[in-house]
Subunit: 311 residues, 3 copies
């Protein structure tokens, strides 16, 4: 991926933030900030068709990309791959190649399998760009970007001074992985990961992080808390005893939040399970940046679409 | 709602026609008439995103709003709330706030519960406008507007001289309630409501109306007949004995329509149950304004979108 | 249909290629070629709304029409008739008339029943155009057009010299019927139809064709092989013994393709059942025009939309 180091060379795809060189990442954040400040450019992708190709449903992410693409002037097509040709036995690759043959040059792809989006990108023609909108547990790079944008707005550029806690089901979270990729690249000084042992990965994902099962310890003095969504299927899988237990041990309440720095901020990728991983008073409180994240999501996706597709 | 009396002050939302001052209502009808006459204004909402947020499915109403928004230049997003994040346990309020945070300023909302749209409007930021596209049995204000526009085109502005019959399942009908709100505001001279006792409301809904279970009496000499759709679930609920009985007693046939004034007009909000509440010869006959209503629906919705969202 | 012979008179609808006069067909192909070469005309249908009205789902055909309409500047509405008012008991005709009343002048209609699109066209107002996007087993005229465009690009205009084999489930295929209509009109010199007796029609569909159950004989020296998709329900219906048997007897492999002319081309309407009617090496090989067909589909649909709707 060394070719990405020179930010003058266009990125062909955005599959992950891992190994994305810092100047690239910062350039995307800078551009996203301009869009967050209200810049529009309906000429950037005018006359271009962009397709959301979701093999796993997600309305909120799809809408965010759709708004981003429209603000750049693109026509947006939605392909719900869970209810169409794929159900007629067509492979994901054939679906991609077919829509590509129709003249679509930008694809926003979500898939339940790790690496599925990279495999599709490898099958694409030169000049076609894929954006990973979430694959398996691997990566959700635009979420990582919007989280960094949100942190930077609140805490400034000096990530070396930043203390961050990521709390919850890190093991199954592509959001956590993309956040960790970006936080490392930006040189975050103190990254803490917290969750029950059953929900923590046992691989290189946590390299360089302080890992703890104790939420109070994780929160102590941090500048930012990044909460993760608890998928309810973790209960059926026996990884979580009960929602009550989980809430008691890993739910963020305002009482608990007092352990963090006084001006600490709270992030959550949504949709929230209110009363489980986060309480209403925190979600809707003055330290919450959750809706700011959503707003930044459109800006971050505009930056990515522009970087990959604008001629 | 007295602030609405001054029509120079923008409406924040359109939740119901009840208490909407007459000058406001007439101004909306006048503007809708211009759109019905073919006026377009693709600059009015250019670059603005409008979202249909339907917690209860309705393709025809969604399409009508979508066409109206497009003719004003807006980008339209469709959020089918029955098949998305809400099924992941997200509250309707969080769904609204999330899409609002993405930069969407106009929402067209349908919900099965009375008052649900008003509750969402109360949660919206200043500058965000909600249009009630039908909530429970309470209100469907754009249907009321389009019905008044259709009546006015056929019968002129002098509602005081108008004799109208509303026939069918008034009890469960938000269409009937919005029609009654508007007819009262416009001063309709003679409003008759007709249906079986089991399908008539027992509250203030019918204040000022002549109520009868006898369709022949209700039709006698009227200028307009507004038929309502019979939901088939009324049978399962035991409120209607059989479709045959209902058709015999409350179905509008051309024979029956002869009781009305010679130039009486027939309205129906659609979709029709042909052969139940209305016969083919009436639905497709010369007195039917049913397709005119559909055409006026786009115009009425353009007027509302413009009034709420144009800067 | 003799009025179609004068290509200066606008076509009201495109329901079938049968009886479409050759000058009309050639004019559409010529115009499609210009779009395939990259011509765009966003002014052609600017401000016009076009609706896809699919009573049978098909994402790929819908997307192709959507891209075609967008490249001509139209607003596109999608009406998924399998999940809406029709499920409330509304007739297809009422659905059409309703959307037409909203101001939509172009409809792209798919239906599972033979003749259903023609019946809807008969109910449309003058000035409204319907395009048959596939009805029952009868016709899929834009697929026929795109296949002819693809053949012409590869083999030139002189269809009299062309030897073509159509292979597979011709009996249930609207694609095969539209291809046969067009090949006859263009004067194709040698049309061979091949499939098991259970999947061949016993009517006038095959008039003028050489019919055989022997794939090797059908392929001998042909310039083009048009493979058809095997619907898996043919097994349940007892029309095909097994997928293995079908593949052995009627699957196109590269070994088998050597019986055709050295520069023979292979077409397939998609989505493919890889390993059944076609092997990977043929589908992805140098003689395959399958993705070219997809690209030509957008161009052919632009030509049709323009011919029917541009003022």
């Amino acid at each position: 991926m060394t070719q990405h180091a020179d930010s003058a060379i266009p990125l062909p795809h955005l599959l992950t933030l891992e190994h994305l060189p810092r100047p690239r990442l910062v350039a995307l954040l800078d551009r996203a900030q301009r869009f967050a400040d209200g810049a529009d450019d309906r000429a950037a992708l005018a006359g271009m068709a962009v397709c959301t190709l979701f093999f796993e449903p997600s309305t909120r992410t799809r809408l965010s990309f759709q708004l981003a693409a429209q603000r750049l002037g693109a026509d947006v097509l939605n392909f719900d791959a869970s209810s169409s040709s794929t159900s007629k036995g067509e492979t994901a690759r054939d679906t991609l190649k077919t829509i590509e043959a129709m003249g679509v040059r930008g694809f926003i792809v979500r898939h339940k399998d790790d690496g599925a989006v990279a495999a599709l990108a490898a099958a694409a023609d030169p000049g076609t760009a894929l954006i990973n909108a979430g694959d398996g547990r691997s990566a959700h790079p635009t979420q990582g970007l919007l989280d960094m944008l949100t942190l930077r707005q609140a805490k400034g550029d000096d990530f070396a001074r930043l203390k961050v806690a990521i709390v919850g089901d890190v093991k199954h979270s592509r959001v956590a992985r993309s956040d960790l990729h970006a936080l490392r690249t930006l040189g975050a000084g103190d990254i803490r990961v917290c969750g029950p042992a059953s929900l923590l990965p046992d691989d290189a994902t946590l390299d360089g992080c302080t890992v703890t099962a104790d939420l109070d310890a994780a929160l102590d003095g941090v500048d930012a808390v990044m909460m993760l969504r608890l998928q309810r299927e973790r209960m059926a899988e026996g990884l979580v005893a009960s929602l009550d237990d989980y809430h008691r041990d890993y739910g963020l309440s305002s009482a608990r939040l007092r352990r963090a720095a006084r001006d600490a901020v709270v992030l959550h990728p949504g949709p929230m399970n209110r009363g489980i991983e986060i309480t209403d008073d925190v979600a809707d409180g003055p330290q919450s940046l959750i809706l700011k994240q959503v707003a930044n999501g459109v800006a971050a996706r505009m930056a990515v679409l522009e970087a990959l597709l604008a001629r």
